[in-house]
């Protein structure tokens, strides 16, 4: 019944895998979890995968010749293959496990940026970048003498591609763009940006934190040089992020962190480096998280990324339409039928944090603040916004609960 009403996902069956969605908050309200762009919940098979690892074959990888270590090593390495394939990469040599998307940005900034950038080089970002890339490239530019530029956004929250074509020049060394804005929901034409960057001999780093969990991604079709995303936003555990990098780039790049496992041969004087991806995974890596994230990929692919995307687009458009039915709501970004699964908004006369506090009374969990895009909020001319974000387990009823709770807040703040 749900499936026909909401698209190709059996939401009721999906929700049964997420016990947290059954809990009550605010002293007896059903939880309505609409903060998925911040972090998603974890289904039972993924929780089981973590428990199974610790209960049955917990062991360090690449170090022991005993059976437990072999089992852990094989599972951990296979997880790299699975995550590479998840975004269209070939195999493990193109897939580095990091702590999160932010660390993936920092890895490339330190291993490539600090070594390759200098005065006269330009790094082109977008006005809708997350602090993960924005702050990182600012600091690298400061350190190296390179310059950071920002592709502006149009009034309706799209990237100004004419400006992009002008700003990306032969001086550009790297373009860094969010695939989907975590604030505006804008789906950026990253393939087009990649073409422009490559025409000028520049690389492109795509921040896929909001895209990889919610749609099929193909790094080869985009022709991304780097593509990063976070495990905890796609049903996996916290503490793991993924960096796809083109094989030859990862091979040529210097290491990011030094230590065990990332080396090939060490003497008292010097060391040589292991092959990618291990070259970039110094010390005991994210073993349990990597194995669990591979399980999350299985879970997502069993449902199907296209089905998940269709479900979210329908919910997002419905939420956009419901929220904008009253004149006192400003929604930021593109129209409801052309965006990722986030809706950021403000209600006249109610600060986003007050709104979020009141929504919590009705069990509705949203994000309020600057969503790690302070400069973008400056551009929008607001200090903060409220953000609802949807995932495969959300329902139209939950959107209705959001809209009803917003109306309660409106009544409380009514003059």
């Amino acid at each position: 019944m749900e499936a026909t009403e909401q698209g190709p996902i059996d939401v009721e069956a999906v929700r049964a895998d997420f016990p947290i969605l059954e809990r009550e908050v605010a002293g007896g309200e059903d939880l309505v979890y609409l903060d998925n762009a911040a972090t998603s919940h974890t289904p039972e098979p993924v929780v089981d995968a973590i428990a199974d690892y610790y209960r049955r074959y917990n062991s360090n990888v690449h170090r022991g010749l005993h059976e437990l270590s072999q089992e852990a090593s094989v599972a951990y390495e296979d997880a790299h293959d699975k995550l590479a394939a998840f975004v269209g990469g070939e195999d493990r040599e193109e897939m580095v496990f990091t702590k999160n998307t932010t660390e993936a940005e920092n890895l490339v900034a330190f291993a490539w940026g600090l070594n390759e950038l200098g005065p006269g080089d330009e790094v082109v970002l977008t006005q809708m970048e997350h602090h993960a890339s924005l702050v990182t490239w600012q600091q690298v530019a400061d350190e190296t003498g390179a310059e950071v530029k920002y592709i502006p956004i149009t009034d309706d929250g799209y990237l100004d591609m004419d400006a992009a074509a002008d700003m990306i020049t032969d001086d550009t060394a790297l373009v860094n763009a969010v695939h989907i804005s975590n604030t505006l929901g804008t789906v950026n034409p990253v393939g087009e940006l990649a073409d422009i960057a490559h025409d000028h001999g520049a690389y492109i780093f795509v921040d896929g934190a909001q895209a990889a969990p919610t749609r099929a991604v193909d790094v080869q079709e985009i022709d991304a040089d780097f593509y990063a995303f976070s495990g905890h936003k796609m049903l996996g555990p916290t503490g793991i992020g993924c960096l796809y990098g083109k094989r030859h780039l990862l091979a040529e790049m210097e290491p990011f962190l030094y230590g065990g496992d990332m080396i090939e041969r060490v003497s008292y004087e010097d060391a040589t480096w292991n092959d990618p991806p291990w070259k970039f995974e110094a010390g005991t890596p994210v073993i349990a998280q990597g194995i669990a994230l591979a399980e999350a990929v299985d879970y997502l692919q069993d449902i199907g990324m296209d089905a998940i995307r269709a479900h979210e687009e329908a919910l997002t458009e419905y939420a956009y339409d419901q929220l904008t039915m009253t004149d006192d709501v400003d929604v930021y970004g593109p129209p409801g039928d052309d965006r990722g699964a986030v809706v950021s908004f403000n209600v006249d006369g109610i600060h986003a944090h007050d709104l979020s506090s009141i929504l919590n009374d009705y069990g509705v969990a949203i994000r309020a603040g600057d969503h790690c895009t302070q400069p973008l909020h400056d551009t929008l001319g607001v200090p903060a916004s409220a953000r609802a974000s949807f995932y495969l387990y959300n329902t139209r009823d939950e959107v209705d609960a959001l809209v009803a709770a917003v109306d309660e807040a409106r009544q409380i703040f009514a003059p």
Partner: protein, 142 residues
């Protein structure tokens, strides 16, 4: 039902909608501003002291932000005249929560205490105990 709704009692909303002592003083003894990064709340207080240089005579403030931060500033601006700087220095979080008279959820404490921190830091700078360059933030205060 839950703590959150209690935060928005009529008194808080009244001070938020009709802030008392909003504006500027012609000749403040000191002025200080502060910022709460978690909500983006901003407050700037002018404080004028009596001839004794100790007792607060007048207060005015300007601000922008959530209802809790702005109501707290408005209510504090009514409490301050007549207090000495030593008494202001002795104010703590509980005094502010008593003044607000509502249960403030843990994540919103920073909003509530911003006004107190701004006035205290301003007084410290005025009496020479604080660093002139500091702008108050409540980031480390939750």
């Amino acid at each position: 039902m839950s703590m959150g709704s209690d935060m928005y009692r009529q008194q808080i909303l009244d001070h938020y909608r009709n802030p008392r002592n909003q504006g500027e003083l012609p000749e403040p003894s000191f002025t200080h501003e502060g910022y709460n990064p978690s909500c983006g709340d901003e407050l700037e207080f002018d404080v004028a002291l009596d001839d004794d240089g100790e007792t607060i005579a007048h207060v005015a403030f300007r601000g922008d932000g959530c209802a809790i931060s702005q109501a707290s500033a408005s209510m504090l601006s009514e409490e301050l005249p007549g207090m000495t700087l030593a008494e202001v220095d002795a104010l703590d979080r509980d005094d502010i929560l008593d003044m607000l008279g509502v249960e403030v959820t843990p994540m919103r404490i920073k909003c509530a205490v911003l006004s107190e921190k701004v006035v205290q830091d301003g007084a410290e700078i005025y009496t020479g105990d604080g660093d002139e360059a500091d702008r108050t933030t409540t980031e480390d205060d939750a």
